[in-house]
């Protein structure tokens, strides 16, 4: 006799992966919250769109590509912010930046008032939106300021699942968060491959060489060198589990961003006369040597 409550038809079915990457920004945000515990803040019908795009012949999106969900994860109040990867490459503009900033500030205020409120940031973003460059840069600074206040009070978990990755100013946000979760498909880097190639030539970095890009910016490498805290498959259940686990771990005792000496020594110890390959770097900068 089996005591399983699963329907018979599913017992012998091969387990299929439930892709997270294939979800859009809003669907991604919603997989984390407890059932019926959430509401969207400043959703598309509030029409808080970017005023800078129409004059530049770009169609705006009603939520400016930034979805803010306030809900509960395992019963704890949490704000989930998701950048829509398909709208302008998940880029950060004045409005989306202000939404993220306000979400973090409100979470901060709740914590100060004794209501534990955590944050999850789904960073699928090429960084600052070039059509609103200066305002986007200012927004990054404001987000970082809000994030640094909140991270002392509550864990902030960032996730980069792919396929856009997390680049530019928003990679700084990821680096300053409490925890970073990546998939194998995810990428994390300050300058995107195309920017490096454009500025320093194809000999420096070939932005068409996908194997090279992922060997440097990819989730596996970032995790192996201790720059990400969890490496997960592109699977909704697995990603949800990892994020929930890190939220439960609470505020970390040591931040990567506080280990200035460690990272300075790492860079100083590199012999830049020779060309490093990603495998060597993994050995030299192994995640076990991070603490």
């Amino acid at each position: 006799m089996t005591t399983s409550t699963e329907p018979l038809s599913s017992v012998h079915m091969p387990k299929r992966r439930d892709s997270f990457i294939e979800l859009n920004g809003r669907e991604r945000a919603l997989v984390f919250c407890d059932l019926d515990s959430w509401r969207e803040l400043l959703g598309p019908f509030d029409r808080l769109e970017s005023p800078w795009l129409l004059p530049q012949n770009v169609t705006p999106q009603a939520d400016d590509g930034c979805i803010v969900i306030k809900g509960k994860i395992d019963g704890v109040s949490t704000v989930v912010v998701s950048m829509e990867p398909a709208f302008q490459g998940g880029s950060l503009g004045e409005v989306s930046g202000a939404k993220i900033c306000a979400a973090l500030d409100l979470a901060c205020r709740d914590n100060e008032n004794g209501i534990q409120t955590n944050a999850v940031l789904l960073l699928e973003t090429g960084g600052v939106r070039l059509t609103e460059a200066n305002l986007g840069l200012a927004a990054v600074a404001e987000i970082i300021s809000s994030l640094l206040s909140l991270r002392q009070l509550a864990p902030i978990v960032c996730l980069t699942a792919g396929t856009v990755g997390c680049f530019g100013g928003m990679s700084l946000v990821a680096a300053l968060s409490s925890y970073m979760v990546m998939t194998v498909e995810g990428r994390l880097g300050l300058n995107g491959p195309e920017v490096i190639e454009q500025e320093h030539g194809v000999e420096e970095f070939d932005s068409k060489d996908r194997a090279l890009i992922w060997a440097i910016d990819g989730g596996e490498q970032r995790y192996a060198t201790g720059l990400a805290d969890a490496l997960v498959q592109d699977d909704v259940g697995e990603i949800r589990q990892a994020v929930r686990g890190l939220l439960k771990a609470g505020v970390p005792s040591v931040y990567r961003s506080a280990q200035v000496d460690l990272y300075r020594k790492r860079i100083a110890a590199l012999d830049t006369a020779q060309q490093f390959n990603p495998e060597d770097l993994r050995k030299t900068w192994h995640r076990e040597n991070t603490k």
Binding site: N24, G25, G43, P44, F45, L54, N57, V58, T59, P60, Q61, A62, G65, E84, A86, F87, Q88
Partner: protein, 98 residues
């Protein structure tokens, strides 16, 4: 950029029970915001990054409103979706609003 506005007569109020939002303003796709109206017609406003296709928009909407008779306000933010994609998104929005 081009902004287009269309009006259709709507026979029924209450076909759309709630507002619906579908799609993304991504390349070749569009975003549809559909809201129930308390009037005798349906209004459509389109903002598209590809100007010069008002006849095609008219044709896609004519076809949609041949079957759909709800009094609704529809806003479309388009990033170069093909007529087929537009028709599917409209149908999806109508379904999500039921």
């Amino acid at each position: 950029m081009e902004t287009l506005e269309f009006k259709f007569s709507a026979k029924k109020k209450g076909t759309a029970k709630k507002r619906a939002h579908v799609g993304v303003v991504g390349s070749g796709d569009l975003e549809v915001l559909l809201e129930p109206l308390d009037t005798a017609d349906a209004q459509v406003r389109i903002r598209t990054s590809v100007p010069g296709f008002s006849q095609q928009w008219q044709a896609v909407l004519d076809r949609f409103f041949m079957k759909y008779d709800g009094a609704v306000a529809i806003e479309i933010n388009d990033a170069g979706a093909t007529p087929g994609v537009v028709a599917l998104r409209l149908a999806q929005a109508a379904e999500a609003s039921e």
